[in-house]
């Protein structure tokens, strides 16, 4: 899978969690929790979405490595 494919999948999962946000406006390096006002529940639903879509399990300890969309894409790319 290319980085772009991973990025669009991750974005898809994110929109599923917070349907009211606009996918285009999300900068790649922004802190998602801050920008999109995500709480721990939202993050968990996002992580569960990624697992269902790509089969990648992200343990709670690694939440720090998926703060921005860019980090998340790299993290997932290394494991898919």
């Amino acid at each position: 899978m290319t980085r772009d494919e991973i990025r669009s999948t991750l974005l898809g999962c994110l929109v599923a969690v917070a349907p009211e946000i606009d996918a285009e406006e999300i900068e790649d390096d922004a802190d998602l929790r801050e920008e999109l006002d995500l709480d721990s529940m939202d993050v968990l639903r996002w992580v569960q979405g990624i697992h269902k879509a790509l089969g990648v399990e992200i343990p709670e300890e690694d939440y720090g490595q998926i703060v921005s969309l860019e980090d998340a894409v790299s993290y997932v790319a290394a494991r898919v």
């Binding site: 969690v17 917070a18 009211e20 946000i21 721990s40 968990l44 569960q48 697992h51 343990p59 709670e60």
Partner: protein, 426 residues
């Protein structure tokens, strides 16, 4: 062989008594001959036979009462006259629904206004109920087993005109708090419209309408409800450790968040503090036998909803987590059911993740209490005489002083604290 049957002798005749045979076995009979006499309400009627032949056998004795159509005798027909082919008696063309002609097309299940009102009160959708009355009509008993929101205690029924009730529902106004200017104190539309005191403006967007409804509810709650507040700082160390350990051993789909622990703890604590788990019905605060904790969910587009998680104290933590995830998702997607919006018996609002340390929340009418949780923050904490860092969460209870008091509130918070120290039991 032809059959001689008990004839129908009148529109409303269903049976007849064979009074007398006018022929004997072996007699030859011609078409139209009188073969028997039948006793009816109007007296004895001579009955003719429609086939020529010889009387073969009598199947019914004199004096016996038999339904119309019963075979009375068998006639050995002479070969010549084959009777015209007549099919079995045709009953009326399908049972015509006995309803008046004008309402032949039944729209929705049959139910009387009283049943419909009861269903509305129990928040039951009629099509989902199997009616046991005539033509599938739904009766009051049919609703007994189905009540989703069992009324814990029969609240005083609100006398309100249908139009006023409709306006109140559209504007999210709780009718149990209104006083009526209509006959016998019944609530009229004017009573409802005067509450929001703003003109029925032109097109109002749903979000705007919701905001206005929240504003109205909050204003009234704040003005009318005498809140008291008590606060407790709770050591979350055990809870967090147990959570990390549990999550490490399960797949991501079964992972829990700390919020579900607090939610379950609040529910369990309420079991012994009924006065906080109640709602106003008309002039009376009515404790609820079931515990449905409303979860405050702020919507990104603005607006706040607190849908209820039914029977929050029941089922495994895993199940509660699934239900919670589903509820939050649907709240965000705006696909909550109306029942979920109105069935909460208390509300929990967690703003910790937004970084604030404590919350002083306003009660959601018609409830009588609300629990607010702040952020879980590392704090110096004295344990067995030594100061150690501990993750501390400040929890505030806001409650209606007309229904409970500070003492009861404090005991609830200490119970909540104790429950959170043994997360594995939640």
């Amino acid at each position: 062989m032809a059959e001689f049957v008990m004839p129908s002798l009148g529109a409303d005749m269903s049976a007849g008594v064979l009074a007398k045979w006018r022929v004997a076995l072996g007699d030859r009979v011609a078409k139209g001959d009188i073969i028997a006499e039948v006793e009816t309400d109007k007296g004895l009627i001579e009955v003719e036979v429609f086939e020529a032949g010889v009387v073969e056998s009598f199947l019914v004795q004199e004096g016996e009462k038999v339904p119309v159509g019963t075979v009375l005798a068998e006639i050995q027909t002479a070969p010549a006259s084959a009777p015209a082919p007549v099919s079995a008696p045709v009953s009326a063309p399908g049972s015509i629904i006995s309803a008046g002609a004008s309402d032949l097309v039944l729209d929705g299940p049959l139910a009387s206004p009283a049943v419909r009102r009861r269903a509305h009160e129990l928040d039951v959708s009629l099509p989902s109920v199997r009616g046991t009355g005539e033509h599938g009509r739904i009766t009051l008993d049919d609703l007994v087993g189905v009540g989703q929101r069992a009324r814990s205690a029969p609240g005083a029924r609100v006398r309100i005109s249908p139009y006023a009730r409709r306006v109140a529902m559209e504007r999210g106004i709780d009718i149990s708090r209104l006083s009526g200017s209509g006959p016998g104190g019944a609530i009229q539309a004017s009573d409802v419209l005067s509450v929001t005191a703003h003109p029925a403006s032109a097109a109002v967007s749903p979000a705007e309408r919701m905001q206005r409804a929240i504003a109205a509810a909050m204003t009234r709650a704040n003005d009318e409800i005498p809140h008291y507040y008590v606060e407790q700082s709770i050591d979350m160390a055990n809870a967090i450790a147990w959570l990390r350990e549990t999550n490490a051993s399960v797949s991501v789909s079964e992972r829990l968040v700390s919020g579900v622990l607090v939610l379950r703890a609040v529910a369990l604590a309420l079991r012994k503090h009924k006065s906080l788990n109640a709602t106003w019905q008309g002039p009376e605060p009515v404790p609820s036998a079931e515990i449905h904790v409303g979860l405050a969910v702020s919507l990104r587009g603005g607006g706040l909803v607190a849908p209820a998680l039914r029977n929050t104290d029941q089922g495994s933590l895993g199940e509660l987590m699934v239900r919670m995830t589903d509820l939050v998702g649907r709240a965000r997607a705006g696909t909550l059911r109306s029942s979920e919006m109105t069935s909460a018996t208390i509300t929990l609002t967690s703003l910790g993740e937004r970084g604030v340390e404590s919350v002083t929340p306003i009660i959601f009418p018609p409830q009588v209490a609300i629990v607010g949780c702040g952020a879980t923050v590392e704090r110096p904490w004295v344990v067995e005489g030594k100061v150690v860092p501990r993750p501390i969460m400040r929890v505030t209870l806001g409650a209606d002083h007309r229904v409970s008091n500070g003492h009861q509130g404090s005991r609830f918070l200490t119970a909540l604290d104790r429950l959170l120290q043994e997360p594995e039991k939640l």
